[in-house]
């Protein structure tokens, strides 16, 4: 397993050009082309601003104003995570031709999916940066330093899920359908469209409702809170301990996902 993992380094050129191909092919034939990577998150932000300002104004809590910007900080990484998972669940099946006919390490396919979604995440970040400047929310140097750590941990966690899902979906195609619903639930179980301190007693910090304990079991909670603390809230990043714990768990989970993938590897060519 570790030998296969190490061999992946040799394929970095291939991964690089496949990610490039994914990005190029995605917008080929559309008029605006590459700009969609920027326009999409922008439109998303507009929709949320409209909904939460006019349709159903959120409870006035000045800590999360502007509310749209608050959500945007959580939605961008979530989009990277969820679309990576959905795409990678089908990637071995749609790339069956490659697995069956070309000598090709199959794990490259889910890896490319996660990475190309990461590139979209980065495009979205530039839009977010524009709004951060507009609302005059500067980042401190510490925050700038922690941000790549958070991205790296999310990358490792997402890769673990992507490998596991892509391998299992080959044998159980219905995972794809379950996954869409599971991700919707997961989305609402993550403090993205509501602030996590909703469950904290504001008079008595540290005394948390039972929901808060449940939220903490969700790995993505800690990523989201970290992103929000870095990008949205003013003040120090208080969630660093949790983030580092999640980092350790993510590495373990990645290894677990890769282990399962490696075990099932030989069955792919026959099953896809």
């Amino acid at each position: 397993m570790f030998r296969n993992l190490a061999a992946l380094v040799r394929y970095r050129g291939l991964i690089q050009s496949l990610v490039g191909r994914e990005l190029k092919a995605r917008y080929r034939g559309s008029v605006l082309g590459f700009f969609w990577s920027f326009i999409n998150p922008l439109l998303l932000l507009l929709v949320y601003s409209f909904v939460f300002s006019y349709v159903m104004p959120a409870a006035k809590d000045e800590r999360v104003t502007p509310f749209a910007l608050f959500m945007f900080c959580g939605i961008l990484p979530w989009t990277w995570f969820s679309s990576s998972l959905i795409e990678s669940s089908g990637v071995l099946i749609s790339g069956g031709n490659l697995i069956k006919k070309v000598l090709f390490p199959a794990e490259i396919l889910p890896i490319v999916t996660v990475l190309s979604n990461m590139v979209h995440f980065f495009f979205g970040l530039t839009v977010l940066a524009g709004f951060l400047i507009y609302y005059q929310r500067p980042l401190s140097l510490t925050e700038l330093a922690i941000f790549p750590v958070a991205v790296l941990i999310q990358l490792i966690l997402t890769l673990g899920f992507a490998l596991l899902l892509s391998a299992l979906t080959v044998h159980f195609r219905d995972l794809r359908d379950i996954l869409a619903n599971l991700l919707t639930f997961w989305f609402f179980a993550t403090p993205i469209i509501y602030p996590y301190f909703l469950f904290e007693d504001s008079n008595n910090p540290g005394d948390e409702a039972w929901q808060a304990h449940l939220l903490k079991l969700n790995p993505f909670t800690h990523l989201t809170i970290t992103y929000q603390e870095i990008l949205f809230f003013v003040g120090p990043v208080g969630h660093l301990r949790w983030l580092l714990l999640l980092g350790a768990i993510s590495i373990a989970f990645f290894l677990f996902g890769y282990f399962i993938f490696d075990r099932l590897r030989d069955t792919f060519a026959e099953e896809v």
């Binding site: 191909r21 092919a25 080929r28 006919k101 000598l103 090709f104 159980f172 026959e270």
Partner: protein
């Protein structure tokens, strides 16, 4: 030094029952049958105990019928499939011409696809840049290289895939029946490229149905049959043995087909029109169909004289269904006439697969005047040289009165196949000879692919 080495390699595919196919995670979890469902209901050995080696610089041709395990064997050598038991070893860089353009993405241009495909096959970006022009020229796609691949014709797609794969500069080249990708000119270019590989001491494993190519091009041939190695050795000998075996099985198929046609010939009463039965079903009636030459297989007649058996006897003196162009052929007829008759004509008609009458004659046309037939009788129709082009032919055999009243008419009930090493066209090979003045020179060329 062997470039390819297989030792007792077997590949067993697992065939799951229907139950497994529709089993889902939910049902697997609910019925706790996850483990049971993942154990195969049935296994299918695609390649069994294959042991062979190809020394560096040699070319091995693998032949065999469909489903004999050729392609699986190639996948084992390519490393795409892992042997279930045994070992496969390959020394050097492999390029597999198995599925051409397998990694192409339809939305992006040929140029970008060349790069990505090349990297997939193990080249570096710099190597591809250096060979890029050569690749495009080989594929004959200079004008279209910046067009998205989805707009390519299938031939263009294949040519580009072929060009990339062949410019990988492999030590071991695996080829699976891919020479049919282009026109004559492109095929020749591919063959030239193979020859160049051979000259440069590369190892080639060639899976093909083109026996001529194996004879001409390979140092050794391997005949796969039912997943096993049947014969390995000198290409001419192996191909010869294979052809004989194919003929034997064709022979059996034709014999079975003829038997089926005769058995299923349904008897219909004389007052019922022949068209009442299924049009393509052999019919058996007492009277001839109104439009006799439009009728399909069938049998009709009063049976005052009956044709009891028809055998096609070839050069070796035994009855068969597969003959070689130019060989002698004799049609043995057995007849039976319960009462003596003096008005009869024995006729024979030869049709090709398109239904064209290649030749027809009868004793009446040849001025033989019938005098008497009684009891069991035999007749032989000997053809000195069966100079027909390759194809499937059917025979009409009939005994009737001079005025056409049928005693027993067998319409297209006997099938035989003619094999030919020459792929000439038409129906009949005229006996002929070429002669040239001294200013024209030819060298004898064996047939190519």
């Amino acid at each position: 030094m062997n470039a390819i080495e297989l030792r007792n390699a077997s590949k067993i595919y697992q065939r799951y029952g229907n139950r497994r196919q529709f089993a889902t995670l939910k049902s697997a979890l609910l019925s706790r049958s996850l483990v049971r469902d993942l154990t195969p209901a049935e296994t299918f050995p695609a390649v069994r105990n294959v042991t062979f080696s190809v020394p560096r610089g040699q070319t091995l041709g693998v032949i065999g019928r469909n489903g004999s395990g050729k392609s699986t064997l190639l996948k084992l050598v390519a490393g795409i499939a892992k042997p279930t038991t045994g070992s496969v070893r390959v020394n050097g860089r492999i390029s597999a011409l198995i599925e051409l353009g397998a990694g192409f993405h339809p939305e992006i241009s040929g140029r970008e696809n060349v790069f990505i495909n090349g990297i997939m096959l193990g080249l570096t970006k710099r190597e591809i840049t250096r060979r890029f022009d050569e690749i495009v020229e080989f594929a004959e796609l200079q004008e279209f290289i910046d067009t998205p691949v989805k707009n390519y014709s299938s031939g263009m797609y294949m040519r580009l895939g072929f060009a990339v794969a062949i410019h990988v500069d492999p030590d071991v080249l695996l080829v699976d029946e891919v020479l049919a990708v282009g026109d004559e000119g492109f095929t020749h270019k591919c063959l030239d490229k193979f020859a160049e590989f051979k000259r440069r001491g590369k190892t080639i494993l060639l899976v093909t149905h083109s026996l001529g190519l194996v004879e001409k091009f390979c140092d050794e041939a391997l005949w796969m049959d039912g997943g096993r190695m049947k014969l390995q050795g000198d290409p001419i000998r192996v191909v010869g043995a294979y052809i004989t075996d194919v003929e034997k099985s064709e022979e059996q198929q034709l014999a079975a087909g003829d038997a089926r046609a005769r058995q299923s010939a349904v008897t219909i009463s004389p007052d019922e029109p022949a068209s009442a039965v299924l049009p393509d079903h052999p019919i058996e009636t007492a009277v001839a169909p109104a439009d006799m030459f439009r009728a399909t297989e069938g049998r009709w007649g009063s049976r005052e004289i009956e044709i009891t058996s028809v055998d096609l006897v070839g050069a070796d003196g035994t009855a068969g269904h597969v003959f070689h162009s130019g060989d002698p052929l004799t049609v043995h007829l057995k007849l039976r006439a319960p009462i003596a008759l003096d008005d009869f004509v024995i006729g024979i008609g030869l049709f090709n697969a398109e239904g064209v009458c290649c030749y027809g004659t009868n004793t009446g046309l040849e001025q033989l005047k019938a005098v008497r037939i009684l009891g069991d009788a035999e007749a032989r129709f000997s053809i000195e040289r069966l100079d027909l082009v390759e194809g499937t032919y059917k025979l009409d055999i009939a005994v009737h009165k001079a005025d056409g009243y049928p005693y027993d008419y067998h319409r297209l009930l006997y099938t035989f196949r003619v094999k030919s090493r020459t792929k000439d066209v038409g129906i009949y090979r005229l006996p002929h000879q070429w002669a040239f003045s001294s200013s024209i020179e030819f060298s004898k060329d064996d047939e190519v692919g």
